[in-house]
Symmetry: C2
Subunit: 360 residues, 2 copies
């Protein structure tokens, strides 16, 4: 039994003891909501406050209570056997729980969030893995994985994938890393990633390229986080120049999101800074633009008013105000107007030489 397995065992023992002494068993869970969240720049992510709620066994809660215990039991067996289950599979497993089975996956997902928050771990550590895959990786990185049949260490060299890439698995908890890279470049679109790979950008600039493919999945964020922590290298984010790229993709990658504060600790990447496309880049590089949509304007205004991350960082406030004033947005593909490889021959090298122009 590993540590987590022991903790699960301990909680179960306590509930058993309560029942044997004819006391009402109870589980204490953190309250998961924006009202119970703090932003501490030193920590670098939205973190959970102290508010807690108790789930006590009563006539009204008996089904939820049973489901919570059943799910805790399932996660213990996953941990003990090093097995994995997707959220959807977990829902189907419950079909054998008789009266306690879930009718909809929503119910099952909510209880899974509770169990995750109860043990203060991310659900991947409990063996529950997401449905979607992570991102793609190329460049100066050797990933250490284990061959499940022989137990031998596999060395996966990400410089050896040609035009292809290493695809991040759904669970990344056990991967190791070796790298001589100076930084990680996290790229929003698969098309831009492919261009940088084709021209071996990672070789000349000694870096690791990671394709996010829009809003990064949990597995992708966790991969970048573990990689940047273990190897102590910074992450530079290269995204579209619009409020969605700034306030959703980048903000979530760097500090996490409000409604999942109990796991931001594991999934945000505080070592990230924003390389571009900044509003000033749109001016400096004379990029073709599109007008801001109404939803962009609303998103930027909301962030200026309510987002604890933006409100702590005056350079971001200035950037959002600037883009609102300009009334336009620019995509990372827009550099193609100056020649297909302008982005990797001019823009990125110039930006990399001037990290002072990055946004925090």
């Amino acid at each position: 039994m590993n540590d987590l397995s022991k903790r699960i065992h301990g909680s179960a023992r306590q509930i058993e003891a309560d029942i044997l002494r004819s006391r009402k068993p109870s589980l204490e869970l953190p309250v998961r909501s924006l009202q119970n969240v703090h932003y501490n720049p030193a920590k670098g992510f939205f973190s959970l406050g102290r508010k807690r709620k108790a789930r006590t066994l009563t006539v009204g809660t008996v089904k939820t209570f049973a489901q919570t215990l059943k799910m805790i039991a399932t996660s213990k067996s996953l941990v003990d056997t090093q097995e994995i289950a997707t959220k959807r599979e977990m829902y189907y497993i419950s079909k054998n729980w008789g009266e306690a089975r879930f009718l909809e996956q929503d119910e099952s997902d909510t209880i899974m969030d509770d169990v995750e928050a109860f043990f203060l771990v991310n659900r991947e550590q409990l063996g529950f893995v997401p449905e979607e895959k992570g991102g793609d990786v190329a460049g100066r990185l050797v990933i250490l994985d284990r061959d499940p049949s022989t137990g031998k260490t596999l060395r996966i060299d990400c410089t050896k994938f040609g035009s292809g890439a290493y695809s991040v698995p759904i669970s990344v908890e056990d991967l190791g890393f070796e790298t001589s890279a100076r930084f990680i470049l996290a790229v929003e679109t698969a098309g831009m990633f492919q261009r940088l790979v084709k021209h071996r950008f990672w070789d000349k600039h000694r870096c690791i390229l990671i394709s996010l493919g829009g809003v990064p999945t949990r597995a992708c964020r966790r991969f970048i986080r573990r990689l940047s922590d273990r190897c102590k290298i910074p992450v530079y984010a290269f995204m579209d120049g619009d409020p969605y790229g700034y306030c959703n993709i980048y903000r979530t990658l760097k500090v996490g999101s409000g409604n999942a504060a109990h796991i931001n600790e594991y999934f945000c990447v505080p070592r990230t800074t924003f390389l571009g496309v900044t509003p000033q880049d749109i001016v400096d590089y004379d990029l073709p633009t599109h007008p801001l949509k109404e939803v962009d304007v609303k998103r930027a205004r909301d962030a200026l008013k309510n987002d604890p991350f933006i409100r702590r960082h005056p350079p971001w406030q200035k950037a959002l105000e600037q883009i609102l004033k300009m009334g336009v947005r620019a995509e990372q593909q827009a550099f193609a107007a100056h020649g297909l490889n302008h982005v990797l021959e001019v823009y990125l090298p110039e930006k990399l030489k001037a990290p002072a122009r990055f946004l925090p």
Copy 2:
């Protein structure tokens, strides 16, 4: 200059000659619509009929004509320099064409489809690559790619990625393959793929696993097509048991789609058969189900009436009628109700032993 580059050159010469002799230059394009499509089971895909339309230079067509020529010129330079451009980048390149620039990407995409149909090639051969990435690959396959800096052949061994996978690049035209696999298993969901990878299903069953991640991208379909053709191995499709899995994902993978008939030749995979989940599997394996949604019922009825592929294959008609009668659908994750690994220890081995139960 390679063959394609010479063909582009030849077409341009003809137009030049017309202009020099003061004749109206004209481009002849195939009509791209369902009315100009045939389904020939021997060929195995929807193919283009003989209807053609002429695009002649007139006052009314001058802009479109100029854009078509400019795009043809761009594709020649991409082919000659072995460069790539995404559809979005192509749109931005046009921003330097003065009056001929595209105002919306839609216009640019339509002209790209025309150019593709004009040369009867797929646009990847012209250097235009999709925005989205292809699928993930693990198992008994060595992919041969070229290191762009040294020109040396790279051997990418897909048995060596541990819990990760090889991520198919956006353009797969130049990849080579070596394999001892007996078949390719194309899997609809990333979660199921991860389970099969974790348990090295490809090792025991001597196969190649490919994750489609829902409706497969062009790059993914083209990759499977080239791999199955070159290595002469069959493809078994493992999808959800519902009309969407049957009539959309599977049908498109196998024979292509109606509105892109000029390229189905390159993107469909005629060597594919349908392993499951069939309607009979739902009965035989006692799978948990969900009721068919209205859109499922409509999709199945439409296919029975109008889909030339379904209408040619009585077993598919029976299957669709059966699922309509049952009124339920089942996902590939539903096997989890019988134990997480039931799918790889019982279901898949049983089905693989009885290819007669596959659907065509």
